[in-house]
Amino acid sequence: MTENILHTEKLTMQFGGVMAVYNLTIDVYKGEIVALIGPNGAGKTTAFNCITGVYEPTNGSVSFCGKTIVSNHPQGRMKKLYAGDRDITRSKVISPTPDKITKLGIARTFQNIRLFKSLTVFENVLVAKHMRAKQNIFSATFRLNWPEEKRAREECLELLEEQGLLQYKDELASSLPYGLQRRLEISRALATKPKLLLLDEPAAGMNPQETQELAEFIVRIKDKYDLTILLIEHHMDLVMKISDRIYVMDFGKLIAHGTPAEVQQNQRVIDAYLGVADDA
């Protein structure tokens, strides 16, 4: 039985009157590439934010490798606003900040590329190593931890070389072309040595050829770094090509789930948005 890397249970996110995500229950198993698709505003990025601790979900829980890492149930004012009493998960409240979730082994990229604009390409990747290093501010300032720092630097250089970014290493991150910026963002996430990688619209703004290269890139890094990948995407050719399974969301709810072939036939999905054959 393959290990269950990620499991969300009745994950719900409500902003005042807006139900962004409702009772989302998904599973991702080790070594898979799972896609989360749906029309704009379906709640996909919100789901990512709940999983990674950016938002505290209104209800539900998230488990990583069997352990519950995020968990909440409606409290205070939300109790009144909450629709559907029977779905409340009465459990302990676990609400970590995103950095803790990253330390557990979940890394993510963002819909709008969030690189550190004033840092160089090399420094962007190096920052990701900061959390792992056994150091305190004094040992870092006085360079007492130089062997570790050196090792971190070497690992980053290797990473950049593999991704074909080594020649840009001393350039400002903001000066890279768009496609390379995306690759840098993914490389930065890889530097945190994650088990699970969450990619939010990695192919956004790419032409078909770039999308093809990205597809190969994702499969390559999955194999090389022994990753499990959950991705949000609108480019259907990328999704259908590399995903093992697909979850489809619409208006915050899960409307379909299965292999790419199954989902393509699903009438509800077609009604929701697959009617448009071209890329979004």
Binding site: F15, T45, N49, V54, Y55, F110
Partner: protein, 309 residues
């Protein structure tokens, strides 16, 4: 029954005692609260639209005070007062055009630094023009006259201030609710970029915001300096800061909130002085600021907004 009667009459008497001993302070509080309110409205309107803390606003208030000192020595009051209003409004308009408009697309910190720079410039300018000596504010007849209320003696300005503040605030709220310009201001405050796309002439709206704010500050200065008759280059710093705290307390962007916050601050500040803790009357305002920022950052009447990640 009797017990409750006795309790209530005792409570009533101690409240009456409290009011009697502190009446001058409470009255002073209402008066200065109204003056702070007039300044606070300027802060809250500008912040609501531009997300800018106009550090220079308090100094514009101070300049209005000095303008009055010099103009009143040169012309009769019925000429000086309108001139002061016009000059202050002009100053606010110029500050916005010169120091804030060029930085509208710059990061927020740059504009705030510019505001601090303008404040620094205005204070130094005032110091230079007056050689640092405090000036006496001219006596405006009638509102400076004394009147007795209960056991306290105070100036008529103390009574006029809340009334005038109320009238002006009502007029302003009606302007915002029922005119096109007011709607434009509300639109800009809600969503700056989209409002631009909708064809709202932001330069005009922003200038009008500053004009209204400066106008109210000028009126506030007329009332304030009739009470505290000495004007120095730093006369605007503290009232400005306190008015800003009032705006934050009431909910930045909300005009009624700013007014209520200003009255609360004015009254509490003076009661603290009445209790003998004068050194802390200023610190109280800041303690209040910190408490509200921590407990309820959006203020009493503010709205929460979530950022999309």
């Amino acid at each position: 029954m009797l017990f409750i009667d006795v309790f209530l009459s005792e409570a009533g008497r101690s409240v009456k005692n409290f009011i009697d001993t502190n009446l001058p302070y409470i009255l002073a509080g209402i008066s200065v609260g109204g003056q702070y309110a007039l300044i606070a409205i300027g802060y809250t309107m500008v912040y609501g639209i531009l997300r800018l803390i106009n550090f220079a606003h308090g100094d514009i208030f101070m300049f209005a005070g000095f303008a009055m000192v010099y103009l009143a020595a040169w012309a009769p009051l019925y000429v000086a007062i309108p001139l002061v209003l016009i000059i202050t409004v002009l100053l606010g308009f110029i500050v916005e055009r010169v120091a804030y408009k060029p930085l509208r697309s710059a990061p927020r910190m740059s504009v705030m630094i510019s505001a601090i720079g303008v404040s620094y410039l205005l204070q130094n300018l005032a110091w230079y023009l007056t050689s640092g000596l405090a000036r006496q504010y001219p006596v405006i007849p009638w509102i400076s006259n004394s009147v007795d209320i209960g056991s306290a003696t105070t100036k008529i300005v103390t009574l006029i201030t809340p009334v005038l503040t109320f009238v002006l605030v009502v007029a302003l709220v009606m302007l915002i609710k029922h005119t096109k310009i007011g709607m434009a201001m509300r639109a800009l405050a809600k969503d700056f970029e989209t409002s631009q796309l909708m064809g709202i002439r932001i330069n005009t709206v922003i200038s009008i915001t500053f004009i209204i704010g400066s106008f109210l500050a000028a009126i506030g200065s007329l009332l304030y300096f009739t009470n505290y008759t000495s004007v120095t280059p730093i006369s605007g710093a503290m009232p400005g800061l306190k008015a800003f705290v009032a705006a934050v307390f009431g909910g930045i962007g909300s005009i009624p909130g700013a007014v209520i916050g200003a009255f609360i601050i004015g009254i509490c500040e003076n009661i603290i002085k009445g209790l003998g803790w004068t050194t802390f009357s200023d610190a109280f305002t800041f303690a209040l600021l910190i408490i509200i920022l921590i407990a309820r950052p959006t203020g009493l009447f503010g709205e929460k907004s979530t950022d999309k990640v």
